[in-house]
């Protein structure tokens, strides 16, 4: 057993809060490693200790390996949890941790490097006998070579930054004419987001589902598959809605995916939490990539299985055994996660920045809110615009959808525009309701921004509220008391 009394968190927002709470429950102290602008966030307020490791731009703070290591050492942390994004899949960071006698809460640097490089990952997967997509991932990165390779693979193809993830540095190439522009754009985005312009090419499936298998290998090398999640609802390859279990995938195929995922983890001598992503189309599945970290959507797995993946990660890092028994791990009911982004659904999803106003998350049975910010906190353009995740569980999928819709309708976020109206549209769409959606779902059904709901009644109401809100008395704590309102009578016509 390795003793962990204090964990440094090299992340921000809701995932930092998620890790802090897991630490609190395990009796472990926390140190938040944060950028200067993030002093004004929930994680900063919740953490036992905090260290400012740099200024707002991620490469001067959250992506700065030495600053994170120095910050963790300065307050005597035993371990670092990288969360997701930022340095979570950076082998050099994992190595730097070990070198400085800090436990990196995640797999070994070797495993990160192996799966971080799409070429070695594919080679390993092929060796494990798992199908991969036709593609090119060679060293020759000249534009001429890449263009020739796209020709061989055929259209549509996809170009991805080798170091990419989270939908960045990735472009679809529908035809020969757009190949050059797409490749150059992916290279640029890869360079700015991950520091490398290297790309690879792949055949692009037209109507595939994104199915991923959660794996976990404990400190005694016992491998668990924690079943699958479906994440087909994606926009520009960024997931928006995730769920478990996946529908419309035969049980037999699911079992093959679980076996493949475990085989891949074993082959790589993997330890800890990881996710093997597949594309599924017409009864066949192909390996996409393995993410060597906690996933944003891990709560849906936690909800249907009744496990705690973050605590499992920490326990595994300290070489303690888990309470899991394979026979007892089974999916029950259905869970859905919606990511709430600060963006304008009526204007191309343009990020909405500024300070959060009043917020209300309607708690209830089977509802879970992972929130990283509170009223008054500022959402800046330096980072991802996700402000919260809403996760629901119910006994079956239709009920879970109904619960999610009810929950989102009652969720209130003032001060910033959010994608909630967009999420509600999706949850009511036929393809989503009958679970036939593919990764093309958004592009196909929502090529344009939503139409803003307007009516003369709404306009008049807005106008009246705008005039009268300043004169109204302050809200009672808890909002319990109704206000005798002098305006009510004047509003009869509404």
């Amino acid at each position: 057993m390795r003793r962990i009394d204090k964990i440094a968190i090299a992340n921000r927002g809701e995932v930092a809060v998620r890790i802090i709470r897991a630490c609190q429950e395990l009796g472990i102290e926390t140190v938040l490693l944060h950028s200067d602008v993030d002093k004004n966030t929930l994680a900063f307020r919740l953490s036992d200790e905090t260290v400012c490791i740099g200024s707002a731009p991620a490469n001067e703070s959250y992506l700065n390996i030495q600053a994170n290591i120095d910050g963790a050492i300065s307050l005597g942390a035993d371990a670092i949890h990288p969360g997701f994004g930022f340095l979570s899949e950076n082998a050099a960071f994992a190595e730097a941790c070990e070198k400085n006698r800090l436990i990196f809460i995640g797999p070994s640097a070797d495993a990160i490097r192996l799966f971080g490089d799409k070429i070695s990952a594919k080679n390993l997967v092929k060796k494990a006998g798992v199908p991969v997509l036709p593609g090119y991932n060679g060293e020759d990165q000249s534009l001429d070579c890449l263009l020739a390779q796209v020709e061989t693979i055929g259209y549509p193809a996809i170009v991805k930054a080798t170091a990419g993830g989270g939908g960045r540095g990735l472009r679809i190439i529908p035809n020969k004419e757009s190949a050059k522009e797409a490749i150059e754009s992916a290279m640029r985005e890869g360079l700015s987001a991950f520091g490398s312009s290297e790309v690879f090419l792949e055949k692009y499936l037209g109507s595939a589902k994104h199915i991923e298998v959660q794996v976990f290998v404990d400190s005694s090398s016992q491998g668990f598959h924690l079943y699958e999640r479906e994440c087909s609802v994606q926009r520009r390859h960024q997931k928006i809605i995730e769920e478990a279990p996946a529908q419309e995938v035969p049980l037999k195929v699911k079992q093959q995916m679980y076996d493949a995922a475990i085989k891949i983890a074993k082959e790589a001598k993997y330890i800890g939490a990881g996710t093997v992503e597949f594309l599924y189309q017409d009864g066949e599945f192909y390996f996409l990539e393995m993410n060597t970290r906690l996933q944003v959507e891990h709560p849906v797995t936690e909800m249907v299985l009744g496990v705690d993946l973050v605590k499992a990660q920490i326990l595994t890092a300290s070489e303690q055994s888990l309470l899991w028994e394979k026979e007892l791990l089974s999916q029950r009911g259905h869970a859905i996660e919606c990511r709430i982004y600060a963006e304008d659904p009526y204007n191309k999803g343009v990020p909405s920045t500024g300070k959060l106003g009043y917020c209300y998350f309607p708690n209830g049975g089977g509802r879970r809110f992972e929130v990283g910010f509170e009223p008054g906190d500022e959402i800046t353009s330096f980072y991802d615009s996700m402000i919260a995740k809403v996760i629901v569980w119910d006994e079956n999928r239709p009920r879970a959808i109904q619960k999610m819709k009810t929950t989102l309708k009652q969720t209130i976020i003032f001060g910033l525009k959010t994608n909630i109206p967009y999420l509600l549209e999706i949850l009511s769409h036929n393809e989503f309701v009958d679970a036939t959606m593919t990764t093309q779902f958004i592009e196909k059904n929502y090529p344009d921004s939503l139409k803003k709901p307007t009516s003369s009644e709404l306009e008049s109401l807005g106008e009246l509220l705008n005039q009268s809100v300043s004169q109204a008395s302050e809200s009672q704590p808890g909002g319990a008391a109704l206000h005798p309102s002098p305006w009510v009578h004047g509003w009869e016509h509404l």
């Binding site: 353009s381 709404l458 106008e463 009246l464 705008n466 809200s475 309102s485």
Partner: protein
């Protein structure tokens, strides 16, 4: 935030309302709305980014990654003029008119604020 009672759809309803920076936010019937009072004569610049005006403003604070046109260049509706990066995503700004680039107010690598005037396209009909 304040609770106000309003008559809505034939019923008396209590709704949360909050005024922030001149905008009024409220939540009713499962939807959040943001009321923006019409501002009169606030713009000092006579050219606003009305659709079809040829004036391209930055839709968000971010960094100019690429300026794909140069002064005097002819462009067609839908052509990409500028690529902006914000929150690690790229956004392409297109012209919504056919015409000629008459003014360039941004350069690659520059940080721009919301609504910063980036490019003016003189429409062909003018």
């Amino acid at each position: 935030m304040k609770w106000l009672e309003v008559q809505w759809g034939g019923k008396l309803t209590r709704i949360p309302v909050e005024k922030r920076h001149g905008k009024t936010w409220f939540h009713i019937d499962g939807q959040t709305h943001c009321f923006e009072p019409k501002v009169q004569a606030l713009r000092t610049d006579s050219t606003s980014a009305q659709p079809g005006s040829g004036v391209v403003l930055s839709p968000m604070p971010g960094k100019v990654l690429k300026v794909k046109v140069s002064q005097g260049e002819k462009v067609k509706k839908g052509d990409v003029l500028v690529v902006i990066e914000a929150m690690k995503m790229e956004y392409s700004l297109e012209t919504d008119v056919d015409g000629t680039i008459t003014d360039l107010y941004c350069k690659e690598g520059e940080q721009v604020s919301l609504n910063k005037k980036l490019i003016v396209v003189q429409g062909e009909s003018l």
